[in-house]
Amino acid sequence: MTTETQTFFEDVAVGQEIELKLVPTTQQLVQWAAGSGDFYQIHYDVEFAKSTGLPGVIIHGALKHALLGRMLHEWVGYGGKIKKWGVSYRGMDVPGQELACKGVVTEKRQEGGENLVDLEIWTANPEGQKTTPGTATVALPSRS
């Protein structure tokens, strides 16, 4: 999607939820290897992954951080900015099943002339477990 629809600070409320659902594929993991420069074999070589004790290839943690960044980018629009976002890779996610990127607004505040919004962010697997929990802070433009 393009980001022509602008989210404004005034329109955001604590408790508001955002979401980006997708199904990462093995092709996407290979694209990520090329895009990020991380060629660790556990993300594309099933036998290698199993030899390290994993059930099979797994999604790069950093890709999940980047996908949560995409969710935030598409929400804050061209007038907003992502200030900071961080996550822990608690659970492994595998390609070929739904990965839900989610966020919920926890606080609105004004600081240093900026309209800041804090969120809890995470990815959830099909069982609803939070595999990549974290927090984010974004800046939004004001209507006034």
Binding site: M1, T2, T3, L22, Q28, Q31, W32, A34, G35, S36, G37, D38, F39, Y40, Q41, T52, G53, H60, G61, A62, L63, H65, A66, L67, G69, R70, L72, H73, E74, Y78, K81, I82, K83, K84, W85, G86, V87, S88, Y89, G134
Partner: protein, 161 residues
């Protein structure tokens, strides 16, 4: 004094030491490749004229992308591309590694054509027993500068087991 299985006094001494700098290049080709990998359809990351019409100098970096390491076969890690010898090597003897977490803080927009200089330091070392045996958890803080001005900080957690 804690009893460690993995952490040695030598490893503890490496905490906090700022590395030698290395260079990262930001170019349009890699921005498009990165944006494809994350599944963006936003023209901002593909169409330079569109990006300029939105006030950017060139294609901006999608979130998480902080430039690409300049690969040197003599010194770069063949799997991760990271520069070897830029920080004290931890001789922990553990073969396997997992990524434990990432935090990125942005201070300015980074665009294609920028050259960044990064330095890193080990911020902390922690040992923990888990399902994969005794694990070493290393937090590394990397600072990215453009023309001497800090533009981003990334904090990464590595798990060796």
């Amino acid at each position: 004094m804690a009893e460690y299985e993995i952490i040695t006094p030598e490893m503890e001494a490496a905490v906090g030491i700022e590395s030698e700098p290395w260079t990262l290049e930001v170019d349009r080709l890699q921005i498009r490749l990165f944006a494809r990998a994350v599944g963006y359809t936003d023209p901002l990351f593909y169409d330079e004229e569109f990006a300029k019409s939105r006030g950017y100098r060139s294609l901006p970096c999608p979130p998480h992308y902080l430039g690409t390491l300049v690969f040197d076969p003599a010194t770069s890690d063949p799997t991760f591309g990271s520069p070897r010898g830029r920080r004290p090597r931890l001789n922990h003897g553990l073969k396997r590694v997992l990524n434990g977490g990432t935090e990125i803080e942005m201070f300015d927009t980074i665009c294609a054509g920028d050259t960044l200089t990064a330095t890193s330091k080990i911020a902390s070392l922690v040992e923990r027993k888990g399902s994969l045996g005794t694990m070493l958890i290393t937090t590394t803080e990397t600072t990215y500068r453009r023309d001497g001005t800090m533009v981003a900080i990334s904090r990464g957690t590595g798990i060796n087991y």
